[in-house]
Symmetry: C2
Subunit: 232 residues, 2 copies
DNA sequence: CGCGCACTTGAGCACCTTCAATGGCGGTGG
DNA sequence: CCACCGCCATTGAAGGTGCTCAAGTGCGCG
């Protein structure tokens, strides 16, 4: 897919939240000229594990997953990326993770070396990156919390609540009805369960009146307190 | 325990590896005067969850764990900290994690606000912190990998290998015989298993000839390839 | 010596996985 | 247009793994 395009910050939906926001307009213009903007179709690989890790990117639209692949071929999702989040591993000599678009997505791609050089020259950017990486670290630990619930119901309930939070525009409120951005298989990878268990657990949650399914990916939360209780 | 002492960088065993190494001697002296050095006994709490997150620290000796506590009282370890690692969450408004000494330990404690101010003023420190947080992020994702092995044998085998790597002075080599720095209960918390399952799995690994136990915490690796295969 | 603590071992059972079959949906090609 | 195929999701049955509950062992310490 040859759809590289120049970066235009003026119409960027995440211009105020992405790390670029730490830069002056001039510096941002310089950064924009260094990189390009690309679209990715659902399922497309953005960064492949084993690459020389030459790029880093900001997701401007859509959603992505970062995953490892075991020797035996089992894929494991270690992080989800939402708009304004960073793709790629700063200061890593080689990419150990594969980044894949979960939905049709767009991202600004930068050469990693020049991005790092700019961060060295602009303390405001470096500080912003520090905060961003700290946030990623918190999310990663949140994911550990998610996986470590003993029972499948708790894991799935916690995942639903996490997506309800992410789907809402206001950070403090949950969305009552939303679409799961993952397939059953991806949810299973994320939670350390099988597809069948995820599916059965959703059926059970619906049977218990906690949620209602609408189509294969739509979720409406009917009993928020019940989900909270299950999620521990 | 009232054992606060001034910080003396000259005899610090991790002076070259900790984040302080990014500072000039003058700046390091200023940082040292801002903080103090403390000893902690095994099991002692270094930072309690819910604290106003007023401190951050560098571990100079020993080992520590960072953990969350669920509403139902279940503790979950989300990270291990080795000497030269950072304790506490930079730029977090409140501590969400409890930090506990796993063995008798020592740390340099700094007021968080002044540490952050110094990082704003010294780009070299900010960059060093960025690298450090990136490393923590990688470790956190490694932990996710660890937990996500389906079978108990795989998780325990991977944990043993991880400690074999950590116990070795050379980063590329494993130690063939070493002590597990965790109790069975802590290993269980880390791996998302029960104490009994960890114990039984170690027995099974020993029965299969992969390891030999020496006392309750000593481990000798007899069949490295078998552990690798189990760890996936 | 006796107590506490951590570890080990055993028996039974709940839960999740595995294997297998079925249904729905979208895309492709006849 | 419809048949066919692939992919995803659901559901069922059987079996295994790890959890729960419970007892027993070894070690350090008062």
């Amino acid at each position: 897919m040859a759809n590289a395009a120049p970066i235009v910050c003026d119409t960027c939906p995440v211009a105020d939240r992405a790390v670029c926001a730490a830069l002056t307009p001039d510096d941002r213009g310089e950064l924009a000229r260094m990189g390009h903007h690309r679209r990715y179709a659902r399922g497309e690989t953005i960064v492949a594990a084993g690459d020389a890790s030459t790029v880093c990117a900001t997701l401007t639209r859509g959603a992505a997953k970062m995953s490892t692949i075991d020797r035996d071929g089992t894929e494991r999702i270690v992080a989800l990326v939402h708009p304004a989040g960073m793709l790629g591993q700063l200061f890593a000599p080689a990419a150990t993770l594969t980044v894949t678009a979960l939905t049709d997505s767009e991202a600004c791609i930068f050469p990693r070396s020049r991005f790092e050089a700019l961060s060295d020259a602009r303390p405001a950017l470096a500080k912003r990156l520090l905060v961003e990486v700290g946030r990623e670290l918190d999310e990663s630990r949140g994911l550990i919390d998610l996986i470590s619930k003993r029972q499948a119901k708790g894991r799935v309930a916690a995942l639903i609540l996490a997506f309800a939070r992410a789907a809402s525009p206001a950070p403090c409120h949950d969305e009552a009805a939303f679409d799961l951005p993952l397939t059953r298989g991806e949810m299973a990878q994320l939670l350390g369960l099988t597809i069948e268990t995820v599916s059965r657990t959703l059926t059970a949650l619906e049977g218990g009146g906690a949620i209602r399914r609408e189509g294969s990916h739509g979720i409406a939360i009917l009993d928020r307190a019940a989900l909270d209780a299950l999620a521990g």
